[in-house]
Symmetry: C2
Subunit: 149 residues, 2 copies
DNA sequence: TTCATTGCAAAATTTTTGCATACGA
DNA sequence: TCGTATGCAAAAATTTTGCAATGAA
């Protein structure tokens, strides 16, 4: 398990300076249960430091992501927006219903299986896997089938 | 294999009108080998109809996507931008190297396996699967390992 | 001290929307 | 004819960037 301190050390080791702003952004991502997009990270960071700027949050998230210190996830419902979470969070992906818009989180061993296969076959080092599914949930699929026989 | 005419019929059946602009947008997506983002679709559509507007392209792509008549794909390299392609294109996903930025296309039976499992277990109807991987390709991974022993 | 980092504001980019007009069915 | 769809232009939403001042190492 990577700790906050470890992550800061890695950040420094990769040639970046440790600033209060960066510590705050990291804390926010590490301590949130949900996936936060950039705006949400900014809002929470802003509560801790009234002077932090949105530009700094953008820049910091980009650095942390580039260094592999946080992960990005995309929700299908709002795919264009990146959501961040700490590395090491339990693996899960998202299915979004196109009709009722509920998000169903799921796990599947197939993803890691595939990652391992690709790494072995193609020699890749896979750091991030983005997987999101869209379609209709059970009840909405049933409704649509009934509406259009 | 769904034909252009079939797709238009489905579009009409779902309550939308067939306009020259919509036909052009559909043709562009169907006839392009690459994945086009909205701007690229607009550019190609614009060559065929100098008066077509970007707003119409946005609106048309949204409709076609909502109706499941085209699919969206996301490339990890440029994840925030949607890329469209016709339904029924051969399954493939993307890995992007964070260093040299090359995009490696790959296939994996694990995806369909997972889709089938999820549909069976959760009763979902999965229409779109977005999967993109990021990390380092074989040579870039080797370089990084050498640079930071 | 030195240079990476910051905040601010402006710019750039991308997408959406209001509305009068045009046109498909 | 009737109401959807369009083009335009303006607005909204999101992200990036220039620059002088600040502050981490």
């Amino acid at each position: 398990m990577t700790t906050h301190t470890d992550t800061l050390a890695e950040l420094r080791a990769s040639g970046h300076r440790i600033t209060p702003q960066r510590q705050i952004v990291l804390e926010v991502v590490e301590n949130s249960a949900e996936h936060l997009d950039t705006e949400a990270v900014y809002q929470r960071a802003h509560e801790k430091d009234r002077n932090i700027s949105l530009a700094t949050v953008y820049r910091t998230l980009a650095i942390l992501k580039d260094e592999g210190l946080i992960e990005q996830r995309y929700l299908a419902r709002d795919h264009a927006r990146e959501h961040y979470e700490p590395v090491g969070a339990p693996e899960h992906y998202h299915f979004t219903c196109l009709d009722c818009h509920q998000v169903i989180e799921f796990q599947s061993p197939r993803v890691n299986q595939m990652r391992a296969e690709l790494e072995a076959e193609l020699g890749l080092l896979i750091l991030q896997a983005c997987l999101c599914l869209e379609g209709y949930c059970q009840s909405c699929a049933a409704k649509r089938a009934a509406a259009r026989p």
